[in-house]
């Protein structure tokens, strides 16, 4: 894991002082709310329906037990005892007091954490593969590259007032577990003739105009990466639309310019920028990479799992994934108990996960974009102990990637942008499909819910997506089918007229019934949908 040196620590400490000063000036009336807004947003502080919300950065979703415990402490001390893990691998707290935020940031800084650029029209937290460093299929650990980008983008003086927010994802496997091509810039590390480089996709995104990012550059080495990204951002800062915030993301620019013309302009800019000496030396990537070296795996760890407890065996089959190291496994902790709030964890649960990471996962945890937690390095021999502790804490739902493993935005229960509630719909769907046997029979089925067209709940990328809208003052839910945020990326299509809150649950059941009726052996829902097409499902839904 990355560890701060004196420079990183000094920068984060200075940020605490800066924000304390800004809050003081705001409370004293020296700056207006309008002027304060971009300052607080660049520290992840939103004003929601009922209170301030603070979003804390978890760079590329990786943290250690000490940091996790701090997140629990903040939930307990400054919030109402809960934290909400987000689709950007961050955590947010929904009941924060403005005058306490400088103290929260000061506490975070003691464990090398912050809320820098978790909001605002700037480069946001860099996301990555939650299995990085543990997955067998990666060409390299993507996180050193993500950390390099994190440092380059932190307080970037030229790109802190962009037309709109800007999100990066970095992966290093063909299997895409991070929705890479639905980011403003998606990077896939690839190996070419023994040299590691970045394949760069630009202009993906969800929101009201979803787009899959086209490939803009097939290979950039680490030596050129910062110059190349600087050129990408500079072209966007110059031409990105500022007359209409709904058309200000880079995906619109690239759609309007065309990928070829954007690429040409980036190359032209790169030729200038490359001369400026802004690329860190190879020694810097080497320094960071050394911190992501494999933790001390036990080469003698047993590869056997005692599956005699049937409940445990079900959980292993559903939530435990293969590790690159013999004798180890990747544990996925579902934050999606039936009837719960997707992504929520209590302070006590956060502490339990921290303890398990410390004792059984070489002190590491990950947050996933599907709002779950990962213990990346668990000995197979420890799985039963871990499962037992998770069961006691209400964290052993064996539903990873099943229909109740729902991504949902906070929706109208919290968010001032929302048109409809998301959480109650997620709860009703999970309750309707509560039977574990039925869920497992339906197999991999990624269901994602957004409470407005901003798509924070990734509904475009759901095998089944739900979009909440306001229809003449009544919440109405549109149904989408066929999306995917994985390597087979696609955007879901709307089935037709929307539904009431209860009607949407019935409609989903008609969809799954149809799937069960027509699926072929081994076909996931998404495969069946792609084979039989929308019309057949429409008929089942609307009759």
């Amino acid at each position: 894991m990355y560890k701060y040196d004196q420079y990183d620590q000094a920068i984060v400490d200075a940020r605490v002082g800066e924000f304390r000063d800004q809050v003081k000036r705001r409370l004293a009336g020296e700056i207006t709310e309008d002027q304060f807004k971009p300052l607080r947003l660049m520290n992840g502080l939103y004003l929601q329906l009922h209170a301030y919300m603070l979003r804390v950065a978890i760079p590329y979703g990786t943290l250690d037990s000490r940091q996790m415990r701090m997140l629990g402490h903040i939930a307990r001390t400054y919030d109402r005892g809960y934290g909400h893990f987000t689709t950007r691998q961050n955590i947010q707290y929904n009941w924060i007091k403005l005058d306490e935020t400088p103290d929260i940031l000061a506490e975070l800084a003691t464990v090398e954490m912050h809320a820098i650029q978790t909001s605002g029209n700037c480069i946001r937290n860099i996301s990555s593969d939650q299995f990085a460093g543990a997955a067998a299929d990666e060409v390299a650990d993507p996180r050193p590259w993500a950390e390099l980008i994190r440092q380059w983008s932190t307080f970037h003086p030229e790109f802190s007032y962009l037309p709109r927010k800007f999100k990066f994802a970095v992966i290093a496997s063909d299997e895409d577990r991070a929705a890479m091509r639905l980011h403003d810039i998606g990077i896939q590390l690839v190996n070419r003739d023994g040299i590691l480089g970045a394949k760069v996709f630009v202009g993906g995104g969800m929101g009201r105009t979803p787009m899959i990012g086209p490939e803009i550059k097939d290979f950039v080495t680490a030596d050129d990466l910062m110059s190349y990204l600087e050129a990408c951002l500079r072209v966007y800062n110059r031409y990105g639309r500022r007359d209409n915030m709904y058309k200000a993301r880079i995906k619109i620019l690239i759609h309007e310019l065309g990928a070829d013309e954007y690429r040409r302009q980036v190359e032209e800019e790169f030729a200038q920028v490359k001369l400026l000496g802004i690329d860190p030396p190879a020694a810097e990537l080497a320094r960071i990479t050394a911190m992501f070296a494999d933790p001390g795996f036990d080469p003698a760890a047993s590869d056997d799992i005692d599956r005699s407890d049937p409940e445990f065996a079900i959980w292993v089959d559903q939530n435990v994934k293969a590790h690159k190291q013999t004798g180890y496994a990747i544990v996925n902790i579902s934050l999606k108990p039936v009837g719960g709030i997707p992504g929520d964890a209590s302070a006590d649960q956060i502490d339990v996960m921290a303890d398990l990471a410390q004792r059984h996962s070489l002190d590491e945890l990950r947050v996933t974009h599907a709002q779950n937690i990962v213990l990346p390095h668990v000995r197979k021999a420890d799985l039963y102990t871990v499962w037992s502790a998770l069961t006691d804490a209400g964290l052993a739902s064996a539903n990873l990637d099943l229909i109740s493993d729902i991504i949902a935005c906070p929706g109208l229960d919290y968010c001032s942008l929302a048109n409809a509630r998301s959480i109650p719909v997620a709860q009703k769907i999970a309750t309707r499909f509560a039977s574990p046997e039925r869920q497992r029979d339906l197999g991999e089925l990624k269901l994602k819910i957004s409470g407005c067209i901003n798509a924070c709940g990734h509904h475009h990328a759901g095998h089944i997506g739900i979009l909440g809208v306001d229809k003449k003052g009544v919440e109405n839910y549109q149904l989408l089918l066929g999306g995917s945020g994985a390597e087979d990326v696609s955007l879901g299509k709307i089935t037709g007229p929307g539904f009431s809150e209860d009607g949407i649950v019935d409609a989903i059941e008609r969809v799954t019934d149809k799937y069960v009726a027509v699926r072929e052996e081994g076909e996931r829902f998404l495969d069946t949908y792609r084979r039989v097409g929308m019309e057949s499902f429409k008929e089942a839904i609307y009759g």
């Binding site: 000094a10 800066e18 440092q151 003086p157 030229e158 007032y161 800062n237 400026l276």
Partner: protein, 142 residues
């Protein structure tokens, strides 16, 4: 220009600035130009040696195009006064200084103490820009 703040030793340039179009069409003998957010600063690169002042307009503090304009001019070797004018807020000035601005004409007066604290706040930066701050990767590796 009551609120003019300068970080240069030379005297403030008094000549009124002309628009970018007027300057580049060759008819003007002006030594000061004002560029707006939609203007392409690269158009000035062939004639930087004629300029003593470039004023970059910020009609709204949210519009960040002027930051790129400033850096492009500094990268091209411009050494004259580079002035951020308009809706320029104290908390933006450290970033503007890093992009090469060395003068400010903000619409609203700036509290000198707040500005001093703000400019002194960070001892270290992560990236190279148009100022002479040394990025931490350089400090780490020499």
């Amino acid at each position: 220009m009551d609120n003019l703040l300068r970080f240069r030793d030379d005297a403030a340039h008094e000549e009124p600035a002309v628009t970018l179009d007027a300057f580049v069409d060759g008819q003007s003998n002006a030594t000061a130009v004002r560029i707006e957010p939609g203007d392409d600063a690269r158009a000035l690169i062939p004639m930087l040696d004629r300029l003593a002042l470039v004023e970059v307009g910020f009609p709204s503090f949210r519009d960040g195009r002027g930051y790129s304009s400033a850096r492009i001019l500094r990268e091209a070797g411009y050494t004259g006064e580079l002035r951020a004018a308009g809706d320029v807020l104290v908390d933006q000035m450290p970033f503007m200084r890093r992009c090469g601005f060395d003068a400010f004409a903000p619409d609203a007066p700036i509290d000198a103490d707040v500005l001093a604290r703000s400019l002194d706040r960070y001892d270290h930066v992560y990236q190279r820009a148009a100022d002479d701050a040394v990025p931490v990767w350089k400090l780490r590796h020499g």
